[in-house]
Amino acid sequence: MNLFFRLNLLLLFFFCIPDLIAQTDFRPGYVITNENDTLKGMIDYRGDSRNSQICVYKENETSASKEYLPGKIKGYRFLESKYYVSKNILVEGVKKDLFLEFLVNGIANLYYYREFNDNPHYFIEKRDGQLFELKNTEGLIEKNFVHYSHEKKEYIGLLKYAFADCPQLFETIDNTTLDTKSLVNITKKYHNYVCNDEKCIIYEKRLPVIKLRFAPYLSMNATSFNFINSNHLNYYYQEVKYQITSYPSIGIRMNTSLPQTSEKLSFQVSAEIGRNYIYGNGNYPENTFNEFHLHNTFLTGKGGFKYTYPTGKLRPTMMIGANMIMLLDKEGKRMQDANYNGTIYASEYEEKNLIADRLYGYNLDLGIDYHLSAVFVPFITIGYTSSTGANSKPASYNKSEPLISKFKTLNINVGLYF
């Protein structure tokens, strides 16, 4: 199987990952029926897009799930979290039932939904029940036969219309942007101006758009090494068996997630540094015994997609990705015993540049994140890494075929996200 084919397989796997691992995430919540009954139980928590299209409910962990489409129920809510209500709205000229996320419940109500791969949509509901979508479309202006695009900011006018009984806010509305934070603020301000009796309800603190987490970690590695094409080169590298080597390394990970899109899938990169010692020996030619001592200081970069099971303190994780190993410093020697009828001559040759400078491959990690607190998350992972690299000019070797090195590593990592 050539490298290109393997890369294609890897890419295919990456693209299929969201489908492969799209699994349920039932969290405590309740459903409000059209008859205003409350059904307590568990509701499947997904991304913004799916939450607006369907509600999957079950009474308890073991019971069968039931699907509710918008309009079939009044709404549903995750305990101390998101609240969705059924609304019939006009989307691009078509009336459509959707579950809108209830952002602010006050004198005026603010709603939100987002389609997959689409911009967010916000709706303001006046106290008389009229619902308006807050839009900001692009328009073209022609000036001296040149067209310029500009933002129409229709939402500014709509907000002023919705909050017409509070002109003190107009200046603030002019500076309002079409995003959750800004719209929640203005809706809340409006409520506070016009209603002194009770506070408005902001249902959920929004998740950040992007979340970065760092994690230093220690790794214990067991590596098997070989030259995959050495056995037909008629050289000292032939018939050499390398022993599995174990060594520690240290690294740091950076995990990037988009919590508003998915709390389960994230992208993770890591850099790891360490030093290993590879030993191998073999008899080639027949009267010669060769021992290879190869010391390498390496820097490994890994990148890939990480899936984290979303609930519980102990959350299983899986990561698949690509890696690159850079050998920063290579020391190597071949110690040879040549046997001439019982007289042994020992000699030593430098083999500094035997392994390729860079090796590329894939890696697979399985692990557990322990959600000790919101800040600190210790973790343990077991990983497998396979990397290959070609070296066309190793020392004391002048054949035209490059020498291809292969590392296969099993590792255990222990670290802490913060």
Binding site: P248, I250, I273, G274, E291, T343, Y345, S347, E348
Partner: protein, 228 residues
């Protein structure tokens, strides 16, 4: 966005301990001793030459695998060629037993100043002669050869002279014996004794015996009476 930058900076501050961990990891990695395979013969490691001065040099070696008790003889060979052995170089056997898997000796002869030499240890068992790898050093000189006596005191062509002394080479080509301008044929040599045959000649007279070891010359105090 600024919040995230601050988060990254505060995160980086928490990583102050990382350099210490890196040092720890590299210390652990470097602790591992190099492996060596066990063979049916003892394997020896040549250590660098030490105490190099105008009086000689010290050689050292370690037995790194195999059973020391199977070693019958051991020593060092040295030469200006890079592959010294008992057949092509000067050498010395060590009488002392090997202790703590190492042996050493001081060589104070047959080393020319400012020349590059190669030396290697050897051990001899019933079935094998094993040489360690060849290691080079630059000589700062050594003691010259010394003639203490010779016999007979007189002779003629084809007679054999036995010369006793010290610092002769056990490798015949390193030695030279001259009588007047006659070059004697060496038939036996070691560090303390040379035996050489006078060539057929028609020279007579009293001559000092001249011995060269690697071009360093010494002369006998007494004279040899050469007759036709």
């Amino acid at each position: 966005m600024l919040d995230y930058i601050f988060n990254i900076i505060s995160g980086a501050r928490r990583l102050k301990f990382l350099p210490y961990l890196v040092i720890l990891v590299f210390s652990l990695s470097n602790c591992e001793k190099e492996k060596i395979a066990t063979k049916e013969y003892p394997r020896i490691k040549t250590l660098d030459a030490t105490d190099i001065n105008e009086k000689g040099v010290s050689f050292r070696a370690e037995v790194v695998s195999g059973n020391v008790s199977q070693i019958k003889k051991h020593g060092f060979v040295w030469s200006q060629r890079d592959d010294p052995n008992l057949q092509n170089s000067d050498g010395t056997y060590i009488d002392e037993l090997i202790e703590n898997n190492s042996f050493q000796t001081r060589v104070d002869y047959n080393l020319v100043k400012d020349k590059i030499y190669f030396f290697r240890p050897f051990v001899i068992t019933d079935n094998y002669t094993v040489y360690g790898k060849s290691v080079s050093f630059k000589s700062l000189g050594s003691n010259p050869p010394d003639i203490t006596d010779f016999y007979p005191k007189n002779g003629k062509g084809l007679d054999t002279i036995t010369i006793t002394g010290d610092n002769f080479s056990s490798y015949a080509p390193d030695n030279g014996v001259l009588l007047n301008n006659l070059s004697l044929r060496l038939i036996e040599c070691n560090k303390t004794k040379l035996r050489a045959v006078i060539p057929n000649n028609n020279t007579s007279g009293l001559f000092q015996i001249r011995v060269f070891v690697s071009y360093i010359e010494t002369k006998s105090a007494e004279y040899f009476r050469l007759s036709e």
